[in-house]
């Protein structure tokens, strides 16, 4: 099969898949290398961008999926009646941020950073499937270690945890050591 035909096959797979299409899986289906699939998927993404299509090819959680372009969201919302999803609370987002950037991390470590008890907010995040237990820390009491889930990546449109923007640091304040303290 030439590239042109392969792109069409991949497009068909993208349309029919219920999960993000992983290049390795596509390669297995089509019988060509994963690298070639990945290249062709990127070409498709570029093609949709260039012709200003109504959808785009999004890289998420290690795979590719077709999503509508954000500027058409108002129309889609009119197509359906959207019940506004309960947005994540500030507490939930702060906790999620600590877990995302410090994973794997224990509850005590999260609570030390936030300065408040995080019991119920951790339960909420577990229930919403945004975080999961990833193991136990080799420390007294063998506390549970938390990390972000695959659903977290899909929810925030990230390909992998490394895809997160760098943690903002104290760049605006300057390093503490350089200021004289009285």
């Amino acid at each position: 099969m030439d590239d042109h035909q392969l792109r069409a096959v991949l497009e068909a797979l993208l349309l029919a898949t219920t999960e993000p299409l992983v290049p390795a899986k596509a390669a297995e289906v089509v019988g060509v290398s994963a690298e070639r699939c990945q290249r062709l998927l990127e070409e498709l993404a570029e093609e949709y961008r260039q012709r200003e299509s109504g959808w785009e090819l999004q890289r998420v959680a290690g795979g590719y999926r077709l999503v509508t372009r954000p500027q058409f969201a108002p129309y889609i919302e009119r197509l359906y009646r959207r019940t506004p999803a309960a947005p994540l609370s500030e507490a939930a987002l702060e906790t999620l941020a600590v877990i995302a950037y410090r994973q794997p991390v224990t509850r005590a470590e999260i609570e030390h950073i936030r300065g408040v008890n995080c019991d119920s907010v951790l339960n909420t995040l577990l229930e919403r499937g945004l975080i999961e237990e990833v193991g136990r820390k080799e420390a007294p009491g063998r506390p549970i270690l938390y990390g972000t889930s695959r659903h977290f990546l899909e929810h925030f449109g990230l390909d992998s945890p490394e895809d997160l923007p760098p943690l903002p640091d104290e760049e605006t304040e300057g390093p503490p050591g350089e200021r004289a303290t009285k």
Binding site: A73, Y101, I113, G115, G129, H151, F156
Partner: protein, 249 residues
């Protein structure tokens, strides 16, 4: 409302444009306490962490008022009683900013609707590219159910229902409902821990034997059980060609 004592302190510092590396501790402490008192007046129950922080602030204030030993004044690296508090505030501030970044990412993603093909019922998702998810799915579903169940009974009771009986019951339910049955539906409205555990074991055993299939259409969605084909009557080929999803490891 503030997320906690660190949030409140940061707010006080930023509102007045104070230098976070040189916090006027007496000033901040009195403002902090004034806030706690105001909350008390409107009858808001504050988390105990707010009180712990109040004590910390007062301890720092006291240490700063103490006269310094002569030789300590001379050494530049004398420990500032505020140091630990400052580093915690800075660390917290980082994650507050990171939370705002996540909020923006979430907002951006909300405008992107994924294509949602409907999977024809005669097609089974290939679980080989969702490694280990089936077990994870069952585990998540059951731990959620377990959390709502009765606490462990103090008295050990004889099993009211055995796994074998439960397996038969599950199969009967599946036979009575053509198509899929939701996992949660197999468990009564107020299940005991034993109920849930026995059902879990029964479902796992049936899946292992290839009598039923465990299906989840999207991550964290409802878990469905589907009978595997041999009772479908005249289409043995369609039934036998499928292998049970949950036997995948």
């Amino acid at each position: 409302m503030f997320e906690g004592p660190l949030d409140l302190l940061l707010h006080l510092i930023e509102e007045q444009r104070l230098d976070i590396y040189d916090i006027p501790i007496a000033h901040i402490t009195s403002q902090y306490l004034a806030y706690l008192r105001a909350m008390e007046r409107v009858d808001v129950e504050l988390a105990s962490e707010f009180l712990v922080m109040a004590a910390t602030l007062m301890a720092i204030k006291a240490r700063m008022l103490l006269p310094k030993p002569a030789e300590a004044v001379a050494t530049a690296d004398e420990e500032d009683p505020r140091r630990e508090l400052v580093s915690r505030l800075l660390e917290y501030k980082k994650f507050k900013k990171a939370a705002a970044v996540l909020r923006a990412l979430e907002e951006r993603q909300r405008g992107k609707f994924p294509a949602q093909p409907r999977r024809p019922s005669d097609l089974r998702p290939d679980l080989s590219y969702l490694p280990a998810d089936t077990l994870q799915v069952l585990w998540t579903a059951f731990s959620r159910l377990l959390k709502d169940a009765d606490p462990v009974p103090q008295q050990i009771m004889r099993d009211l229902i055995t796994v074998r009986q439960k397996m038969a019951l599950v199969l009967r339910t599946l036979r009575r409902h053509p198509g899929r049955v939701q996992l949660d539906g197999l468990i009564g409205p107020a299940p005991s821990r034993t109920d849930i555990v026995v059902t879990f074991l029964a479902v796992l055993e049936l899946a292992r034997m290839g009598r039923l299939r465990v299906i989840q259409d999207f991550p964290f969605g409802p878990v469905w059980l589907e009978r595997v084909g041999e009772w479908h009557g005249r289409s043995p080929a369609a039934g036998s060609s499928r292998s049970p999803a949950a036997s995948h490891h």
